[in-house]
Amino acid sequence: MSELIKLNPPLVDQDVTALTAGDKVLVSGTIYTGRDAAHKRIVETLAAGGEPPFPLQGAVIFYVGPSPPPPGRVIGAAGPTTSYRMDAYAPTLMAEGLKAMIGKGKRNPEVKQAMADYKAVYLAAIGGAGALMARCIKQAEVIAYPELGPEAVRRLVVEDMPLFVVNDVHGGDLYEQGRQAYART
């Protein structure tokens, strides 16, 4: 594990190519939320020649469906959702410039290949630590698909969101490496 690496989106190729699976990063700045339903709509919009709800070039997307904000809060609990459900859509978004995905759980081979091809990384947040993650979120605003409720696309302003690099552009995979290091079978 290296020292903490700071990332400030929008990201460029050099930001992500410098990362290695196992690195710890702190993300600060503007990121966007999206789960399956929002991804489906974004991909359909792109296919129809439309504009996505936020600029994809250099973007960081966080797979999250937050709980409602209690009074006086900008957001409720906001931990990552399982990422494989976005696998069908992720390569399309990377082709349009998406640079990082934040979630939890394994990605499929197509997504890993697209990360290498388009220079993008997959970052893991600690699943189930929703209250802790909420502390890093300073602003939240629904910018598209409000009818999707928790699945609406939100623009978040985050500060020092702690994440692990799981898949880098060089084929590194922290889930595989971590497991191999401790497997006793």
């Binding site: 759980g105 893991a124 600690i126 630590a129 209250a131 802790l132 909420a134 889930y175 497991r179 401790y182």
Partner: protein, 312 residues
């Protein structure tokens, strides 16, 4: 004579009164024996428990994190477990859900056969409690139509499992169940020939395929025997147990220990980032099955093992 006569009549009258009173009392007791429980009390309890379950990590789970943190060889694993403890503290302090996935509301109710539920539709009362509990505590509503994915808006309908038991109490458990771990759960209808080894393989395959997806360290509810449906419900029901509880069935208790050790050799670790703590506890329930069958249900529970109960 008159005096005597009248005194006998008085005694007879008294005796008759006593007898009537006794029989009336007995009758009253018989009438009163089904204890009355208002369904509105069930609704209130469900509303309260939904909030408590989602905001406050149960003490048994917290202790399991602390123990695992002391034994976990991976530094990252230790860090993750530390963050989970910190997360539980923040959630309790800020009245924020532990996890944004506040679950589908799963409710188990053991209804005493001498309890008389009055004042309305019991299941509707449970749904009313879920509706209030999720709204009042700012919990995420995750129930939606399976095809259109349109959210029902209030996290109903709840998933309700009832069981009739001796007694006159209503024991209820609220177990909010997250989607990430539920998606990794499996039911196997094995061939009897595969035996215990086949059961162990089914459990290992389930955990291995799940990997980091269900938010490890996980808890496993494993039900063996019964039927397809029965195994699945019993697997979920085991999740009501406290993590440090001992299974009264020695065969199941031994298998719990064996499976826990086996699963923790996989190396998946906290958050799936590698480590020895893949699973905190395995619960096993063994029941007879058909001579042709060997059903096994594996319910995967994430570390946010929320379970709160009340007795009415």
């Amino acid at each position: 004579m008159d005096t005597n006569c009248s005194s006998i009549e008085v005694l007879r009258a008294q005796s008759a009164r006593i007898q009537r009173a006794q029989s009336a009392k007995k009758w009253e007791l018989e009438l009163a024996s089904p204890r009355t429980v208002e369904v509105s009390a069930v609704a209130d309890a469900v509303a309260r428990l939904c909030g408590e379950a989602d905001l406050y990590l149960p003490e048994d789970v917290r202790q399991a994190f602390t123990r695992a943190q002391a034994e976990e060889p991976s530094l990252v694993g230790q860090e993750v477990l530390g963050r989970l403890l910190e997360n539980a503290d923040i959630a309790a302090e800020e009245k924020m859900p532990i996890c944004q996935d506040c679950g589908l509301a799963v409710i188990f109710m053991d209804i005493g056969q001498d309890a008389h539920l009055v004042g309305g539709d019991l299941i509707e009362a449970v749904n009313d409690g879920v509706r209030r509990g999720y709204e009042e505590n700012y919990l995420r509503k995750s129930a939606c139509h399976p095809f259109t994915r349109t959210n029902t808006g209030d996290n109903t309908p709840a998933v309700v499992h009832t069981q009739i038991v001796p007694g006159d109490k209503v024991h209820l458990w609220v177990v909010p169940k997250g989607g990430g771990s539920e998606n990794m759960s499996k039911v196997f209808l094995l061939t009897p020939a595969v035996g215990l080894a086949g059961v162990k393989k089914a459990v290992m395959d389930t955990v291995e395929a799940a990997g980091p997806n269900p938010c490890p360290p996980i808890i496993l509810g494993v039900a063996i025997g019964g039927t397809f449906d029965h195994a699945a419900v019993r697997a979920k029901r085991t999740l009501l147990r406290e993590l440090d509880s001992v299974n009264p069935d020695p065969e199941a208790a031994e298998l719990e220990q064996v499976l826990l050790e086996d699963v923790n050799t996989l190396g998946i670790g906290p958050a799936g980032l590698g480590g020895a703590t893949t699973c905190l506890k395995v619960f096993v329930d063994i029941k007879p099955c058909h001579i042709a069958s060997l059903p096994v249900a594996v319910n995967v529970q994430c570390h946010a093992a929320r379970h709160k109960e009340a007795v009415l």
